[in-house]
């Protein structure tokens, strides 16, 4: 089977999968049963984990790639794409995930970083990678390393959307600045952001990131999903928000519904009424001690 990279005018096969996930909801799951609940609710993909971020926070210690059995059970249970997380810079974990045939790897700040200096060279892999970013410079660095999809970092496991909103707005504002900038200013801005010049040039030409941009980190309700989508996210990741709520099935279905019609308040209202339970309790960001903030991991 030919697996050559396409010519320059064809969207890369890795980013192609990200394009197919647009307008959907990607849900964190820790068992095959939860994966089925997510698929039945209409998730476009699932993220197979050993623990959801809020439990990772509680457990403390070192959070690593999930045991292969957990991921394999999820892969066997559903027909939608399965993603899994590896630690920042831990290319050996990524190699294992690729060998297992997962569809997407999240080089994630939710896990304890393995390398404080370098992220994975994602060009070395055939499987696509998603990475988190807090600003445009970080997004461009990850794309330069070969990420096929970006997401906001947010503050995972908090059920608090404020950080995802901050990251989305910052990236939007910086893209807008690049788009309206004189070309002669671009190299200086690339230096200030620490962004690869060629990637920034693409951002300027397209008026957007050259790969899809999703929201993640703190989504807990249908309204949170609608907020992220209206701020320009093309899909939402929901981590602890579903299986840490009162009624995971209802929450999963309602968030899918609200995401599909994010720009129609009547439908988001309908979805909000269908929850039949309360959202995860959530954490105020200032209650989290600085070293415990996951968004600060990676650079």
């Amino acid at each position: 089977m030919s697996n050559k990279t396409g010519s320059p005018n064809v969207i890369n096969i890795k980013t192609g999968l990200a394009e197919m996930l647009k307008g959907g909801v990607i849900m964190d799951v820790v068992t095959a049963e939860q994966a089925k609940v997510a698929e039945d609710a209409g998730a476009v993909a699932v993220m197979a984990l050993e623990r959801v971020p809020s439990d990772i926070r509680k457990a403390g210690g070192v959070a690593r790639m999930s045991p292969p059995e957990v991921i394999e059970q999820v892969m066997a249970a559903v027909s939608i794409p399965v993603m899994a997380k590896c630690r920042i810079g831990h290319f050996a974990e990524a190699q294992i995930l690729e060998a297992m045939g997962v569809d997407f790897i999240d080089e994630s700040e939710v896990l304890t970083p393995a390398d404080e200096e370098y992220h994975i060279n994602k060009h070395d892999f055939k499987v696509p990678f998603v990475c988190g970013a807090k600003d445009l410079g970080e997004a461009c660095r990850r794309i330069g390393e070969g990420a096929a999809l970006m997401r906001t970092k947010g503050e995972p496991g908090t059920g608090n959307i404020v950080e995802a909103v901050r990251h989305m707005r910052k990236i939007n504002a910086q893209i807008s600045r690049v788009t309206h900038m004189d070309e002669s200013e671009l190299m200086g801005y690339a230096r200030d952001l620490g962004a690869p010049y060629e990637i920034l040039k693409m951002v300027r030409a397209q008026g957007r990131l050259p790969v899809p941009n999703f929201a993640a980190g703190g989504v807990a309700t249908p309204a949170d999903a609608a907020l992220c989508m209206q701020l320009g996210a093309e899909t939402v990741f929901v981590g602890s928000g579903i299986f840490k709520s009162d009624n995971p099935e209802k929450f999963a279905r309602a968030i899918v519904k609200a995401t599909a019609h994010f720009d129609d308040p009547a439908i988001v209202l309908e979805a909000s009424k269908e929850l039949e339970g309360v959202a995860m309790r959530g954490t105020e960001i200032s209650e989290i001690e600085e070293p415990m903030k996951m968004a600060n991991r990676g650079w």
Partner: protein, 190 residues
Amino acid sequence: MTQQKPTIGVLALQGAVELHRPHVEACGAEFRTVKTPAQFEAVDGFILPGGESTTMLKLIERFDLWDVLAEQFAKKPVWGICAGSILMAEKVENPSQKSFGLLPITVQRNGYGRQIDSHHTLIERYEVSLIRAPVITAVDDSAEVLARHEDTPVWVKRGPYMASTFHPELTQDFPSPMHRAFVDLVAESA
């Protein structure tokens, strides 16, 4: 003589929707995203885009759109791509799921394997992408096979309906021969 510009509606419940815009517009047709019965009524033909077929299916059912869409599809041309071709098939395997049965084909979901098996190929000298694509395992004689890849049909047509298991919309060379063929089909049917 000027012909009226056909309007192509891309079902926008989930999936790769916007990538069709430049292709459709390069064919001289109007591009619209459609999600509601009123929007369905206003277009001349439908593209069922790539994405996750299970998600689309669930949203169609949850928003009570099945009957409305079936009624629309009975009178207008439809082109299903990847997930969309699954929705159009008469029979779906791996696993079996509900479908509109517009084309006499059997499709096996994720027939090439997982994402690691996704690849590019040339169809009509145009580069296309197969992404976690389904495989058409059976085609009734009444349908026409427009293209094959590795001996398997990948582009099939009967009357106003066509399906492709590959994505031409990811190629930024506008329009693709498949968009051209579909817009022609819609113009003929109008």
